[in-house]
Amino acid sequence: MIAALDVTPGWYLVLGSLLFSIGAFGLLVRRNPLVMFMCVELMLNAVTLTFVTFSRMLEDTGGQSVVVFVLVVAAAEVVVGLAIIVALLHKRPDATADDVALLEG
């Protein structure tokens, strides 16, 4: 029966939005910087998935080329972001995102 289930692009879009929502929700409710960072990655990849889906649907390679860019940027972002977070947790293992609120107006 399962094989009969036709996987249309809509499914991918639903999956993408679900992942995005989970990521956003996690970003808002969690305070561990590492987890928040993972949530951001999740959102990023949800968007990437959506791009690929639309690229396939519309038969336009533009979407796929955007994905390549996103991957590169995400890699760079991971380098910087993780470095900051590791450095932070190294100094204060139990720090939360709310503890690093020095940049206030």
Binding site: L27, L28, R31, M36, A97, D98, V100, A101, G105
Partner: protein, 655 residues
Amino acid sequence: MLDAVWLIPALPLAGFLILLAFGRRLGEPGAGWLATVMCAGSFVATLVVFGGLLGEPSEDRHFVQILFQWIPVGDLRVDVGFLADPLSITMALFVTGVGALIHLYAIGYMHGDPGFPRFFVYMNLFIFSMLMLVLGNNLVLTFLGWEGVGACSYFLISFWFGDEANASAGKKAFITNRVGDWGFMLAIFLAFAAAGTVDYLALNEGAGGVAAITMTAIGALLFVGAVGKSAQIPLYIWLPDAMAGPTPVSALIHAATMVTAGVYLMTRVNPILAAGYEWVPDVIAWVGAITALIAATIAIAQNDIKKVLAYSTISQLGYMFLAVGIGAYVAAIFHMITHAFFKALLFLGAGSVIHGVGGDQDMRHMGGLRKYLPITYATFIVGWLSIAGVPPFSGFWSKDEILTAAWASGGTQGKLLWAIGLVTALITAYYMSRQVYLVFFGERREDDAEPAPEPEAESVPVAAAAADAGGHGHGHAGEPHESPWIMTLPLVVLAVLATIGGGLNLPFGDDLHVLEHWLEPVVGENELPIDLSGATQAALIVVAVVVALCGIAAATAVYLRRRVKAREPEVLAHAYYYDEGVTRFVGGPGTRIFEGVAWFDAHVIDGAVNGVAHVISGFGRRLRHVQSGFVRTYALGVATGVVVVLGYFLTRIRF
């Protein structure tokens, strides 16, 4: 030969720069001689250019030499360029000529003054500024010279700045002049805005093409500037106080240069005046006439030898403006030239007297000086007869020409102006005779040096006299003595000029109107035509002579024969209390008005500006709490924003 124009102002400028750098080393009398030679060289250069202009046919007698572009901004183009035409060269001739004589005289007069080199630094700068004013081919360059003479007059009037009265006299001259300069500046702006040029030739040529109302405004504003510089009502108050400077300065400022600038300017822009409405020239004529009369009456009751001459200068300038107003430009320039001769002569003569008696300027302490100062006496008599209007001395011819022109300008107004001019001539003859009698005739009155209850207004000249004495290192004691040749030589030269100067423009026949034909290319079109019969002109001349002689006779009866008791009303000695009135007004209500303005500025204008800044900074202070530093708050903000934007688009989509 015309290419030498640039040399005319360049020589005094060079003199100024050299003296500025090495003046102290040159010392006395080297600095004075250098300045004199530079000024005389400038005169020679002017003669060369003059010769060049004579070589041209009458209608081609204008030559423009552009040295470099000075201010090129957008459409505005101001050059440093010189315009040599009959008018500017005539002016330059007597500015440099009389100026050189005054320089020479000053070498003797300033002898022993610790500021000797500094004095000649200013003098050369003054001549340079005046030449820029006269020779500049556009309004802006003239304005440069205009401000230059203003600044130099400040330096020179308060030359003995150790005395506070002298310093404040300088400030008074400068500030009063600034009031007029305001009009000049607005006129320049307006000329550029309306005509797109500040060049004289272009402006005068295009005068007819611009709306009459604009030309009226430019003419009127330029006149405001001229009123300040040429000491006409209501801005004449600086000139009597300017007597605080050394006497050669008084001669330079009041005879040859600065005060004539206003008359020159009005003559220079005569097409603008002609293109505007009729009322501007009328106002000029009336201001001139009233100034002439009022200043002459004030001169009757002055006791300071230089103040009498100061008020007479104001009065004579009034004549010139009267002439300009009725369109008798040639007569105005003619009177300016003869006035430069005889007034420089009178001032230098007065300086020689002051020098001779050891610094006292009060005529009540003089008397009988003709025995002691024979050359000064003889030359002063020439100056006196000239200004009083006795033929054949030069002042008679030029004054008579103005009066004739006033009569010929027609209508009740012309007759009225003529009558005022005639009354002024009478008073002029009277007060000048009074001065001559008080100073040179009668008995020596040194001893009646009563502890004179000097009115407040005269504190300036008294202080100047004291400074004069100090400057010379002469004591008051001892016999009055004649001045050295270096001072009497200029007197003699000026006396000769004051005698024959009238020959420039004699009224007998067209051929003798030399000055008129010479100036024709500049003023010809707008010059008032004189169409009076020979008999009328002769009658006017006779009336003028009789009036002058009456004035002299009256003064003889009062001051020489002592038949009639002298009447010198207090109100005239105080110059109608105008000065005091101004002081009181400015000190009282004036100060309060400006305190009010200052309050308005501090509270309303600044308040508005500060208020806006305050509101914005308050808003910012509140807004900055949004930046909390909590990353999750930002994330929530972004998320909310996304939801809102998405929601907006979803409601707008039409499936």
